[in-house]
Point group: C2
Chain length 288, copies 2
């Protein structure tokens, strides 16, 4: 496994691989590091589908708001390298922000309208522009055939997929299932922020989603009613401060008033547990 | 010369060429068609530097404002094809808007801050976002090594070059000199809109720039004074309605108060002649 920190070095390494192997497919897992089993599942999926697997580790300043956790976002590059090595990753790309954006920064931004209007797009202005910009740039450097994204960031992979379609980028977006802790909490690098007490309470994001899932299976289709159920549940867990709970069309991410059988519905939640913002979501099943 | 109207067909044709030739360089000239000698000079430049020359002909709706001339923009595809054939173009890409953006349109847009704040960026909100978006998409499809842009659009090639740098696109932007009519009017597809009388008056854009050039050579460095000269001149030519006349830093495109010897200064003009908006510019020389 090779570790590249410069764009030039990575490009040359990929060129070397392309020459050595006969038309290899390249699978790419873009991450912000502090890798957990969620990332591992993306890497395994890439390993199973592609000839070459490249992982980027880059805490991207563009996607953090001014009052967000860019500076304290957890970093543990040596541990990440071991995990990648163990999973058979071929190349790690771990640039600095200076290497990525240069001394004069990045004046270019990519915006995807519509899909980004609600959910995290409303709570974190500019966040998805930063994600799209870094992902587009990484795609230019890595030239992947497939890129792997976790479904925990339900909005992110859909927005990236739309950007790829709109800009005719020659890459397939592969969304991968959420990986969870035993009690159901979605794996996240930010879980490390949680105190033991907060960690216990964090499970209520998932439990809220399951409550809505249950009610939907039992026949409740009205979004207001479903939200009321959730709010009543969360009222008993004051350590969980809701940012949003939305039921949206699974394709367009636009809010819906009622669940309809013919279109997929996504139920997405974001909440602060202490100072830590966590997200989770479920693609609603209407039958048990 | 082959003419492709679909993205799939173009991609396949490029793939075929890449297999047939040994690592050819691809030169790309993106145009909106109605080709004139300005475009021809770009194509010739590409022909001299690259192994394969691809010209796109696409009137891009994204870069026109709601009250601009998208619908009446001149189109003459057969004439364009003959000109390209004569210049040794290998491939023309001439898609419809439906082929480019699909039935559900383009939700993605690319914005370059700072460079786009003044000049045409101020006069035509959203214009450069539309340019960047289509150019980025065309780059993904055509995969050029070099792309050729005319210097008449002084802001455009600088913005595209910045986008390419920020997003690490593997393409070199080659700006090419302005081609002019005998009387000095910059060649433009929009010149066809001009009535005979307007055509005569249109030369005053260029003459205004030369007036400023002369005064600069004679030692005038104060931008206010230079602008006053120009306004006085244009006052005698009421058919030319000034949109802007700006002296800006040639690298950053930010307005400057005085010309300084050490940094290049760009003098850019936009004006309506009748209903036709024309632009021109000059990179100021300070010595005769």
């Amino acid at each position: 496994m090779k570790i590249c920190t410069s764009i030039t070095d990575l490009r040359q390494s990929i060129l070397d691989i392309r020459v050595k192997m006969q038309k290899p497919t390249i699978g790419f897992v873009p991450t912000m590091g502090f890798l957990h089993e969620g990332h591992a599942s993306l890497i395994k999926r890439a390993r199973s589908l592609d000839d070459v697997v490249i992982v980027s580790i880059f805490v991207n300043p563009l996607q953090f708001g001014p009052n967000e956790d860019y500076n304290r976002y957890p970093r543990e590059i040596e541990q990440d390298e071991k995990l990648c090595e163990g999973l058979g990753v071929d190349l790690i790309f771990a640039p600095t922000a200076l290497e990525m954006y240069g001394a004069d920064g990045c004046e270019t931004s990519i915006h995807v309208a519509y899909l980004g209007d609600h959910l995290c797009g409303a709570s974190r202005p500019g966040h998805f522009d930063g994600v799209c910009t870094v992902v587009a740039k990484l795609f230019q450097i890595v030239t992947p055939d497939r890129a792997y994204f976790g479904k925990k960031d339900a909005q992110q992979w859909r927005i990236v997929r739309r950007m790829v379609k709109d800009l005719s980028m020659p890459v397939e977006i592969v969304p991968c299932e959420i990986v969870r802790e035993e009690d159901g909490l979605a794996k996240s690098s930010r879980n490390v922020y949680l105190s033991p007490e907060e960690r216990q309470e964090a499970v209520h994001l998932r439990k809220t989603l399951l409550l809505i899932q249950d009610a939907a299976i039992k026949g409740q289709r009205d979004v207001k009613q479903l939200k009321s159920l959730a709010l009543a549940y969360l009222a008993d867990h004051p350590l969980v401060a809701l940012d949003y709970l939305e039921l949206v069309d699974g394709d367009t991410l636009q809010p819906c008033a009622a669940i309809r059988g013919e279109a997929p519905t996504l139920c997405a939640i974001a909440a602060y547990v202490g100072k830590t913002r966590l997200i989770d979501n479920i693609e609603l099943e209407l039958r048990a």
